[in-house]
Symmetry: C2
Subunit: 188 residues, 2 copies
């Protein structure tokens, strides 16, 4: 099935997402996003009042696709909930081991915005991370995992830590080691 045509707003967000993820939010100008969208800067500013709004829209647009990708990795792994968590890290290790992979866009954006904690993009990142945590908590509660909420938080920390250290060492052994700990966090 062919993809439905994007409207102007979606076209801008798609171009922004590509550039911001590739180069970082400060390295990319609004001019560059307008050029990549093949739109004028005036049209861009008609849809987004500021670059800050555009950065927040970029992260909001990555919420569901990112969550769905991890859910797919989880669902596609055979076995117990422990196996599925470990499997999610293994699939992540494969993806992160490519030169095109440039870290977790949510964490990288928060890192660039460390001096403005209330920034709308940091809030969009927080919404995504809470949604991810909520998804894991629900699964763990359904599976009668003791301390479901804490386990979900610990797995979020391990995923974020694995993404951070991968950007430094580019060695998937750290992701695999994180996956082992994550699987051990879960006690039925």
């Amino acid at each position: 099935m062919p993809k439905p045509a994007l409207n102007t707003r979606e076209k801008i967000v798609e171009a922004a997402a590509h550039l911001f993820y590739s180069e970082g939010i400060r390295a990319v100008s609004v001019d560059a996003v307008a050029a990549k969208s093949q739109l004028t800067k005036k049209t861009l500013y008609y849809h987004f009042a500021s670059k800050d709004e555009l950065i927040a829209a970029y992260l909001a647009s990555r919420d569901q696709p990112t969550l769905q990708l991890y859910q797919k990795w989880f669902d596609e792994t055979e076995g117990t909930v422990c196996d599925k968590v470990r499997g999610m890290f293994q699939r992540f290790a494969q993806v992160a081991n490519s030169p095109e992979w440039r870290g977790c866009g949510f964490n990288r954006t928060a890192a660039e915005l460390a001096s403005t904690p209330g920034h709308p993009a940091v809030k969009a990142g927080a919404t995504h991370k809470k949604r991810f945590e909520g998804w894991l908590t629900d699964i763990f509660e359904r599976e009668s995992i003791s301390n479901a909420r804490t386990s979900a938080r610990q797995i979020i920390v391990l995923l974020d830590g694995a993404a951070s250290i991968m950007l430094i060492h580019r060695d998937p052994a750290y992701v695999e080691a994180a996956g082992e700990v994550a699987a051990n966090c879960i006690r039925t």
Copy 2:
């Protein structure tokens, strides 16, 4: 004892470290570093051929102070090696719970440099993280912890993950949860 006077190079690195940590590496210009050092840009470029070199020098200058801080937190905690690891996370949670705290400078810099993996500052970050890992591995081996190297790596992932999620949620409960997992990683 009064601090010994800094030489010109040290003065530049101190100013750069302050600005880069506060605002991020792309947000701060070489002009701003020169101004904060109360030196001309020409003098700055006499000591550092490029901004990239200056960023690498900033991270190299944070290696030993950062390591020594964690070693202090570890040493000052009473009890077993598990207690000491947990204590290190608790002290980290306290520090990270202040508005002045802006994440791990090594990880934030690697996040900003995600599109240039071989950058000298990413290498300086890798050197620091390996040194930290080596310190923990040595302790764990001395204490006859099984799988000392893997445990050290897992603790690095947990510290980096705790720092990343703190920048998003600003909630020390995540650091404490990470500390519990870290303590459980260690099996004598």
